[in-house]
């Protein structure tokens, strides 16, 4: 049985702050190399390249690792904060 990354994240416990993303990106950022870094490196597989070359990102499954911030803050990543108090991922195992 192969699980998709979305299904894998589905077993986690998340408190999603609906409508209040803690990370904001520029989906139309021109440099493809920068966008690919995020597609390759996000351990939640949350950055996806669309057919038209734009980037989509879903903050709801964020593991709060900071990888995208370290790689692309100031380029593709416009804002990176931790989720508000009590929100976000909650590791039961960790």
């Amino acid at each position: 049985m192969t699980m998709s990354v979305e299904e894998k994240l589905g077993v986690n416990k998340f408190f999603v702050n609906e409508g209040k993303p803690h990370i904001e990106i520029d989906p139309n950022y021109p440099d493809m190399k920068e966008k690919l870094k995020l597609v390759k490196a996000c351990p939640g597989g949350l950055y996806k390249l669309n057919e038209n070359g734009t980037l989509s990102f879903d903050y709801a499954g964020c593991l709060e690792c900071g990888t995208c911030r370290i790689l692309c803050l100031g380029t593709v990543v416009k804002k990176w904060e931790y989720p508000e108090s009590t929100m976000g991922v909650e590791y039961r195992y960790g």
């Binding site: 699980m3 077993v11 996000c42 904060e81 989720p83 009590t86 909650e90 590791y91 195992y93 960790g94």
Partner: protein
Amino acid sequence: MSEFDAIIVGGGLAGSTAAYVLAQQGLEVLLIERGNYGGSKNMTGGRLYAHSLEKIIPNFAEEAPVERRVVKERISMMTENDAFTIDYHSPRLAQAGSDSYVVMRGEFDRWLFDKAEEAGAMTAAGIKVDELIVENNRVTGVICGDEEMRADVVILADGVNSLLAEKAGLRKRVQPSQVAVGVKEVYGLPAKVIEDRFGLTGNEGTAWLFAGSPSNGLVGGGFLYTNKESISLGLVLGLEHIGESEKTIEEMMVAFSNHPEIAPLIKDAKLLERSGHVVPEAGLSMVSTLYGDGYLICGDAAGFCLNIGYMVRGMDLAIASGEMAAKAVIAAKEKGDFSSATLQSYKTMLDESFIMKDLAVYKNFPSFMENPRIFNQYPAMVSEIMAEMFIVNGSPAVPLRKKAMKHLKTVGLMNLLKDGFKGVKSV
């Protein structure tokens, strides 16, 4: 007047240790954690070397939620379908004083956080610190939402990303070349099945690292740790060149978990959690500001991590640095002076401890690991030599030294000598 002697930001191992030690000495401490409990945002591979916590809470493993005590060390070199493994099994690994435990941070950190509370620290879980208060170049407190709280000293134990230190200009932004991304999957299995699959009895555990195909050419590798009733399986991948990788981290994770060496070990297991975290990897070169007027930085936030290929350590350093930060605060309180000049005793203690000494011994290792031969050519070479040794198919025999030489030459004898020499020097 400050409301607290110390405010500690971050309820991980460094922060909770600092809070525990300070509270035990009767100081007024506030320990703040943004998650709903200590450890709720934390993740490790992972294994905790017991020595540093043992000094603070003797026999902690008897009461703490540890998974298994490691008695079996394995290191594998992997290619796409092959694995060459070194297996070291010894009761000496489990002896008091040199013992190590597989832990899961959601449970383990929560226990230590609660210990700090029991010792008398005031704890606030589910509260995010937004900013430090800096007045006259001195850290005097923290801001959470619209609330300000003040203390004589603030201990920053807010993890590898330490946004607070960066925002306040106390630390530079972490660079991709200094860190790796870790991804982990926890697979549930009955204890009996784990013991049978790994040849373990009772609370014995296995720690296993993998070099070669798991990191797909990047600096890094795979790991596997046995928990009581689950297996932790994951990858650590250097960020510097990750954009150039032809595979995504998920594709690498799938390939690793489907590898013929791994797949039977997690067969019929149920995925319990998928986690991710950034790992400081650059050793001594990424240790930055440690103290200043009104503040101390410890744990991952200070960059305390040792990765020397066959061994990865961060948690024992975090605990020891939390303890030293607390001791520096206790000394400062006695003097009634929380300036940089007094808090410098933290750095002195670090310098005299295993933390800075070990970081100095292994300071060249991170740059040695930048060598792509280590993650590509050597695992392939070993696998080819093993195949030559063990495969019998009726072709005329060739002396082993000739067989081996062919593969050594693929890498280049000079490269082998050079890397061997550098490698031995760096560890």
